[in-house]
């Protein structure tokens, strides 16, 4: 067959062209060895994306094997589009967190929007209806000139996509740190719920089964997003990479979501995978790879948005809102009908084969014939050199004698409450639809969000955490604390932690100090997850987060999901009634290293992060969960950044806005007692008559319990150290972010 019209002939494939594609000389040689011939131009493009860091995990794979991924609750661990854990009643919680950092820095609105779109597809691809979104955002310093623009763009993009598709954004976290001035982080998380007997996987099978393309048409957007944008560091030319950012269409995704979920009610499909990074190429290859099958694609059948697209472009486009389905033979028409109801196209573009080869035809020619294993199993795996940063030991040293205690603790508290990292996130959160679906029990602003599981008494709690200052000053301990904090946030709502998803954001893995931090991060996550019984069931790695040679602080973001057997047990942090007793569980040590207080008030970023005893942490969880289940508690709040004083203030700021009167009990510096960030602490309020029982529970688990005082009045009074009217605190806390960013 002759080509319908002439198209530009593909360039000659050379080592130089391979280098332009981001492939190293060794990788180029490996391709020649594996194939026994030079690749065609489209084949070179395929190798470039499939062997990119983003798709192949070549620098991280060897280390990721250390993570615990199994447990009785786990139905699906890493390796699929998302992880899945059992929550009883024949249901599964399906979830994953994923980064979209570089696109969001280059083009914040569309970058963040398509980040949300991508993670939603990962979850509904599994057959789960998405029920909640969280976003974990890291921006540069609040006073950096580019920060307000980036915040507005990212928040607007998330709102645009999440609100329109109709999945509530129920929480997340936001930090500002100069370490992200040149490379922000946008990590998006989605939780979905699926029936146990209706979980779908991306494993192609059944020779002759049709491969069906559904959703939006393919255009020239996002080509090499995975290889050039996601797998390389930034420099002064970064803005020129804008064309590699995709453009999102949440309405089409909404149609795709509903059509896919309808289709999944029947038994017509074998496998399904979304076309995310590296588009048609990775979705088809990964499905074939998992199933040990081959695949034949006919590019002439791919629905295109524009004329004259080459095979190279069609294969590598990252146009959004597309899915690839392997259906059972003979079901093509039925599949087409489901999508027609939603005015979506469904085109048969190929079939599953048995020769293990990925064949692509275009205008009668075979433009690509690659053994699937050449791309997947033969992909390079690197054990890159790692070395402790020479500055770390010095950074961990902190002489508290050189830190002068403030004279006015009330002013210090107010200053912390309006600092960028501790002030209210309301200005951001209110731009998101938190209610759609009608199951949001605890919205953003609590320790974790809580979402009711439709049709049951149960609820799921979800949290996301990572203190990158801890990770910067101790990559191992910091990663551990990210896991622990995520778990403790769930426990504060009364939920039992089930499993986690990790998004490992690091700098350039070719640098030994970055690799060292990464390896230690993995070990920290491993140790904490093993101790808490929360396996990692999904996640992603985002390397090359650096600009002009400056890496971001290590940021292993941990999203965790927990289960409440009875939604009525759900707790919030805020005081509920005058006269309730205020109790602190856990021990406060003189730990000011790496604290928000030191950074914000004294401009000191040093010292070791607070120590953690994982066994003590587990015992704390048991006390809180038992007390919650026995309905002994009126409120529970994790003590985190800003320490006890900020935690107490936060309990006053939400809900009815009640004050508290608290006695000081300390044998340590006042600022350490007030603002130190010792771990394994929980702030509770309860009716006086339940105190005895809670004390018994704490004693049984050997968890220190201190009666701090009671809920009373309209001010937060802490002994003779500080006295702040709730109204004043609330005013400063609530308006701070808008004042800084809405310019």
């Amino acid at each position: 067959m002759m080509a319908a019209r002439p198209s530009p002939s593909p360039p000659e494939v050379t080592a130089a062209l391979a280098a332009e594609h981001g492939l190293s000389p060794e990788e180029w040689q490996r391709i020649l060895d594996v194939l026994g011939r030079p690749p065609t131009f489209p084949e070179l493009g395929i190798f470039a994306v499939m062997w990119s860091e983003h798709c192949s995990y070549k620098s991280s794979r060897a280390h990721l094997r250390q993570l615990p991924t199994t447990g009785p609750q786990v139905e699906q661990g890493p390796g699929e589009n998302a992880g899945a854990v059992h929550i009883g009643d024949g249901l599964l919680a399906v979830f994953k967190i994923e980064s979209h950092n570089h696109p969001s820095f280059v083009e914040p609105f569309q970058g963040a929007a398509t980040g949300v779109g991508g993670i939603l597809r990962d979850v509904f691809t599994m057959g789960a209806r998405p029920v909640a979104i969280l976003d974990s955002l890291r921006f540069g310093a609040a006073d950096h000139p580019r920060t307000p623009f980036l915040v507005r763009g990212v928040v607007g993009g998330i709102a645009h996509y999440g609100n329109c598709i109709g999945v509530p954004t129920v929480g997340g976290d936001v930090y500002f740190d100069a370490g992200y001035n040149g490379n922000i982080l946008v990590n998006a998380f989605t939780l979905g719920i699926a029936r146990k007997d209706r979980l779908f996987r991306a494993k192609a099978g059944g020779v002759g089964n049709p491969v069906i393309y559904v959703g939006a048409r393919t255009g020239r957007d996002g080509i090499h997003g995975a290889s050039l944008l996601a797998s390389a560091a930034f420099d002064e030319t970064s803005q020129e990479k804008r064309p590699a950012v995709q453009v999102g269409d949440p309405f089409t995704e909404k149609l795709l979501l509903e059509a896919c979920l309808t289709l999944m009610e029947s038994d017509r499909i074998v496998a399904i995978q979304d076309m995310g990074a590296a588009g048609l190429t990775s979705s088809s290859l990964e499905m074939a790879g998992r199933g040990g099958a081959g695949m034949v694609l006919n590019l002439d059948a791919v629905p295109l948005r524009e004329e004259g697209m080459t095979p190279y472009e069609i294969l590598l486009s990252e146009s959004q809102e597309r899915m690839l389905i392997v259906a059972k033979a003979g079901e093509e028409e039925a599949v087409r009908e489901v999508f027609a109801k939603w005015d979506l196209e469904a085109a048969v573009i190929g079939h599953v084969s048995d020769d293990g080869v990925f064949r692509v035809r275009w205008r009668g020619e075979e433009v690509c014939a690659l053994p699937v294993t050449a791309l997947t199993d033969s992909a390079p795996v690197y054990r890159r050199p790692a070395e402790e940063p020479s500055t770390l030991e010095d950074m961990q040293r902190l002489d508290l004698r050189e830190v002068k205690e403030p004279t006015d603790h009330s002013q210090t508290l107010l200053s912390l409450l309006e600092s960028p990292n501790l002030c209210s996130r309301e200005w951001i959160i209110r731009q998101f639809d938190q209610l759609v679906g009608g199951n949001t029990v605890v919205r953003a602003g609590g320790d974790a969000a809580v979402v009711r599981v439709e049709g049951t008494r149960k609820a799921l709690a979800l949290s996301v955490d990572c203190n990158s200052r801890y990770c910067q000053l101790d990559p191992y301990l910091g990663a551990m604390l990210a896991v622990v904090e995520a778990a403790r946030n769930l426990v504060a709502t009364g939920a039992r932690p089930l499993a986690a998803s990790d998004c490992l954001n690091y700098g350039n893995p070719e640098r030994p100090d970055v690799m060292w931090a990464f390896q230690h991060g993995i070990q920290g996550i491993r140790d904490a997850c093993v101790a808490l019984g929360t396996p990692i069931v999904s996640g992603n790695v985002s390397f090359y987060n650096e600009t002009d040679g400056v890496s971001i602080p290590p940021t292993p973001t941990i999203a965790m999901v927990g289960l409440l057997d009875d939604v009525d047990d759900a707790l919030t942090p805020w005081w509920k009634g005058e006269g309730d007793v205020v109790v602190l569980l856990g021990r406060t040590r003189e730990e000011l290293g790496a604290s928000e207080y030191l950074a914000h008030v004294h401009r000191i970023v040093r010292g070791a992060p607070p120590w953690i005893d994982l066994e003590a942490e587990r015992r704390l969880h048991r006390v809180c969960l038992t007390a919650a289940r026995e309905r002994l508690l009126r409120s529970a709040h994790d003590v985190a950044e800003g320490g006890l004083a900020v935690a107490l203030a936060e309990c006053c700021l939400g809900g009815p806005g009640l004050g508290a009167r608290v006695a000081v009990e300390r044998g340590i510096r006042a600022d350490a007692w007030l603002f130190g960030e010792s771990q394994s602490r929980m702030l509770l309020s309860l009716r006086r008559r339940h105190l005895g029982r809670v004390r018994d529970l704490a004693r049984r688990e050997d968890v220190p319990l201190t009666i701090l005082g009671e809920v009373r009045g309209k001010s937060l009074v802490i002994g003779d150290l500080l006295d702040v009217p709730v109204e004043t605190a609330r005013d400063r806390w609530r308006r701070a972010l808008e004042r800084r960013l809405a310019r």
Binding site: G156, G166, D249, Q431, Q434, L435, N439, R452
Partner: protein, 247 residues
């Protein structure tokens, strides 16, 4: 009695609305697909929140031309009850069933928050169960909820008591600060000349359970009101014929 909830491809709050009808009201609920021309015996038609057709053009502009809207127009013309919530309100304005139009919020941002609205008239099927001037705590979540109308229209609506809800502060006062989106006269909801078609930006269907969302169930008052109105209109015999025959 039977609630029909119109489902446009981009509707989001349709499932929530159906659930209120079934679970909280104990009524029948049917989803009405936007391509249908039949209301399937619905006594009251609810147009839910969402982004009907993506709303990249003007909110509700395309939805107002969809096949199901012919049936909704006929239902309304015959005196049948129609409630438009958020995007549903936008669709009703675009369809000419309600006066005014909804434009971008003054802040240019989407807003999800709890607001207080004052019931300005109890002379509609959806508010007759309230008392005049009653304050309701209801959530809003919209990017284009700023209701506008020319002066003559506004004056006519005032004269005819067709402004159904206004944004007020917690003390019930109409102040500029109490208006979340810049709507003219703090208008949050209006009704048709026949008073049987009501549209509002706040979401009563997201305010039906104490435990959920903003911990208010004030939204139930609107649904219960319509339920009582219809029961009365249909006479004492339960399960009697629908108020309005389908087109």
């Amino acid at each position: 009695m039977r609630w029909g909830v119109v489902v446009f491809p981009g509707s989001n709050d349709d499932r929530d609305a159906l659930r209120v009808a079934e679970r909280q009201l104990g009524d029948q609920a049917v989803a009405l697909w936007h391509k249908d021309r039949d209301l399937r015996g619905a006594d009251v038609v609810l147009l839910p929140g969402g982004f009907s057709y993506g709303d990249y053009l003007r909110c509700g502009a395309m939805a107002s031309c969809s096949p199901v809207m012919d049936a909704v127009r006929a239902h309304a013309a015959a005196g049948g009850l129609v409630l438009g919530i958020c995007n549903g309100f936008q669709v009703l304005c675009e369809a000419g069933l309600l006066p005014g139009a909804l434009v971008r919020n003054r802040s240019l941002s989407f807003i999800c928050d709890l607001v207080t609205v004052r019931v300005e008239t109890i002379d509609t099927p959806f508010t007759e169960g309230c008392h005049p001037g009653e304050l309701l705590a209801l959530p809003i979540k919209h990017g284009e909820g700023c209701w506008v109308a020319d002066e003559d229209t506004l004056a006519a609506l005032e004269r005819q008591s067709r402004i159904v809800f206004r944004y007020v502060d917690r003390a019930g006062r109409v102040t500029p600060e109490a208006c979340p989106n810049g709507a003219v006269g703090n208008v949050a909801g209006v009704c048709s000349e026949g008073r049987n078609v009501v549209g509002l930006m706040p979401h009563p269907e997201h305010a039906v359970e104490r435990q959920i969302g903003y911990n208010t169930e004030d939204g139930l008052k609107l649904f219960r009101s319509a339920q009582a109105w219809l029961r009365r209109a249909r006479g004492p015999e339960a399960g009697g014929p629908a108020l309005v025959p389908g087109p």
